[in-house]
């Protein structure tokens, strides 16, 4: 029975656990409960992935109501892949969390923090697994609202401001998506994704379809932080608590990219988006501009969280570049970079959290010479940084290489050249931090610092280890991404 109900359990368990965390009250018990929930969710996602690999796409009707009357959950290779890494990150980040939030979030708020965390996780997983368009909007709003709340928990007075700006921009984006959904519903009479894909009049279709597409993609571009709609991201990542940045940076934008993939490829079809409309050119240009602008901005940052935030915008550009190729290789590159970037950025923000805890600051000038007193943490930064640059034997190389070869396959040589040049910018901003850590004279604070606690170091090294592991063992990253890409290109869900 559990086996049959896996898709819904994935959502129900964290959703029900969230208010229970608040009711439990006692923060340590609430933490353990929350942790167990996230591990249970991860186990469910692994089981789901195995089921999908064995049986193919799974369709689950909630409450046994057939679509279009009821809501359908669909687990295919792409959704189960994204669900798996989102839940894995949710579990690992929460394992890492206690020491960090003890310092950054007031104790009275901890139970509420765990509850909101679980709600955010629910929302993200729901976006990935749903087969109903309006349900997608609902889960999108659930995850967004909880992330606004989580971001506002930061210590700086700019945290609520950052959360407010994100809220306004994110709500505008979500409302655009809602408009798009409404127009699509008008045209087809159903909200079920598979149903819409069958009925949407795309060939010489009415203007409504074009408008719907435009609204939905722009709304999603805001959530994905595509240049120039990225302005919410740097402040949101910088002023949120370390754990929150870790989780959101690794998951939120990737899940929004998933939503974009679903809508563009499975509902509106590739042919409409890339041949009738100039989405390829638009994405390519926006992605490249975003990569260069964001990487350049990252070079000049002194606040390491802001540096990584700009780096994230650039890396999202790579994902979009892969998608814009719109062939099997390009999509594989984009999807595998979703995964690779999630583990790399998650890992790097974990390192930042370790330094924030021990040194009390995320300004690069306060980290000088920390390589001597906090060697493990500093080496972790070096490994994550190499992954960001895309050195072979790290996960970052796999997706960069796939992107490069797909650019050649589609005869976009300029894109290939530009993409490689932008990697050089990554070398600059990553290595600035490495040099500060290892080659500068220590300040008083760094000389007196101790290594980060094991509860934080072990999850960080699990992430670093996975960056190295998935650099050469790609059966569960790139191969799954390839399967997901082919299912996207082949047929609607």
């Amino acid at each position: 029975m559990i086996d049959f109900n896996l898709p819904i359990l994935l959502i129900v368990i964290p959703m029900m656990a969230a208010p229970l965390c608040v009711l439990i009250g006692h923060r340590r018990v609430a933490y353990v409960f929350c942790l167990l929930t996230t591990y249970a969710v991860f186990a469910i996602s692994v089981a789901l992935m195995m089921k999908v690999s064995a049986e193919g796409t799974i369709r689950y009707n909630i409450g046994n109501w057939e679509p279009p009357y009821g809501i359908e959950y669909v687990a295919d290779s792409l959704s189960s892949f994204v669900v798996m890494f989102v839940s894995a990150l949710g579990a690992i980040v929460l394992t890492y969390a206690p020491a960090s939030i003890a310092k950054e979030i007031p104790e009275s708020k901890h139970s509420l923090f765990f509850a909101t965390y679980l709600l955010c996780l629910t929302g993200l997983l729901g976006i990935c697994i749903t087969g109903d368009l309006f349900n997608l909007f609902v889960f999108l709003e659930i995850s967004s609202l909880s992330s606004y709340a989580l971001i506002s928990l930061g210590r700086s007075r700019r945290a609520p401001l950052a959360a407010f700006h994100y809220l306004i921009l994110g709500s505008v984006g979500a409302t655009f998506i809602l408009i798009g959904i409404g127009l699509v519903y008008q045209m087809t009479g159903t909200l079920n994704m598979a149903g819409i894909a069958g009925r949407l009049p795309l060939e010489h279709g009415p203007r409504t379809v074009l408008v719907a597409f435009a609204f939905m993609t722009i709304g999603l571009f805001i959530k994905v932080a595509v240049f120039p709609l990225h302005s919410w991201l740097p402040n949101a990542y910088t002023y949120a608590p370390s754990v929150v940045t870790c989780f959101i940076a690794a998951t939120a934008t990737k899940v929004s990219v998933y939503a974009l993939l679903r809508i563009v490829f499975s509902i509106f079809t590739m042919q409409f988006a890339f041949e009738q409309l100039p989405l390829r050119t638009a994405l390519m240009v926006l992605a490249l501009v975003g990569i260069f602008a964001a990487s350049t901005a990252a070079v000049f940052q002194d606040n390491v969280k802001r540096l990584l935030a700009y780096s994230s915008i650039a890396q999202i550009g790579y994902i979009l570049l892969g998608i814009s190729m719109a062939n099997q290789a390009g999509l594989t590159a984009g999807i595998s970079h979703m995964f690779n970037h999630a583990i790399i950025k998650g890992g790097l923000f974990m390192v930042v959290g370790c330094f924030a805890l021990q040194l009390g600051s995320v300004q690069l000038s306060d980290w000088r010479g920390a390589g001597r007193t906090m060697p493990w943490t500093s080496v972790a930064w070096a490994i994550g940084g190499l992954g960001l640059i895309g050195v072979p034997l790290t996960a970052g190389f796999v997706s960069k290489w796939l992107l490069l070869t797909s650019a050649f396959q589609t005869h976009h040589v300029i894109v290939a050249v530009l993409m490689l040049l932008s990697s050089l910018l990554a070398v600059v901003y990553v290595w600035r931090v490495v040099e500060t850590l290892f080659f500068s004279e220590p300040t008083e604070k760094t000389a007196a610092a101790k290594e980060a606690p094991l509860t934080m170091l072990v999850p960080t090294y699990i992430m670093m280890g996975s960056i190295l592991l998935f650099g050469f063992w790609t059966t569960y990253s790139a191969d799954l991404a390839a399967a997901a890409a082919s299912s996207l290109m082949g047929v609607a869900p």
């Binding site: 606004y148 609520p160 401001l161 519903y185 909200l191």
Partner: protein, 158 residues
């Protein structure tokens, strides 16, 4: 664009006006509370769009009238009875029931689903608004003002 299109689509014109008004307020207003209100107007316009979308010309509220509802109840009862084996009674009652069905089919209803979807959207809007206002209260406590420009200045100075 002919008269039919301009006046016939009046609901969409209203939606567009509200939408742009709300969007303009979001972009242009320095007062944070007004920004939230602008967002609300923006979201309301979308709600209006859906709700008016569901309206069918000549359609009534999507509620089955009591008379037919009772007829349906009778049908259900007879159906039960038929199962219990009182088929003679069922046969006799079939023809009037067919009329009941037809009567029900003949009424034109507006589509209920968009309104239902908008219930959810309204709730989402409320949650967003309350969260935004809570954030504004926090900002007011930290900065002493809810004017964006003043907040920006204070940030640049520090």
């Amino acid at each position: 664009m002919n008269m039919e299109q301009i006046f016939g689509l009046y609901n969409y014109w209203i939606v567009i006006c509200l939408m742009m008004t709300g969007f303009y307020i979001v972009i242009a207003s320095p007062n944070m509370v007004k920004v939230v209100l602008g967002l609300n107007i923006f979201q309301t316009s979308v709600i209006l769009m859906y709700v008016t979308m569901g309206k069918v010309e000549g359609g009534t509220a999507p509620i089955v009238p009591p008379s037919i509802a009772n007829g349906h109840a009778a049908e259900a009862a007879i159906g039960h009875a038929a199962e219990a084996g009182h088929s003679i009674v069922a046969h006799a009652a079939e023809t009037p029931l067919a009329d009941v069905h037809a009567a029900a089919e003949a009424i034109v209803y507006s589509h209920p689903l968009p309104s239902v979807l908008m219930l959810t959207a309204i709730v989402v809007g409320i949650a967003t608004t309350s969260l935004a206002l809570a954030l504004i209260v926090r900002i007011r406590e930290d900065y002493g003002t809810i004017d964006e420009n003043e907040v920006l200045e204070m940030d640049l100075q520090s």
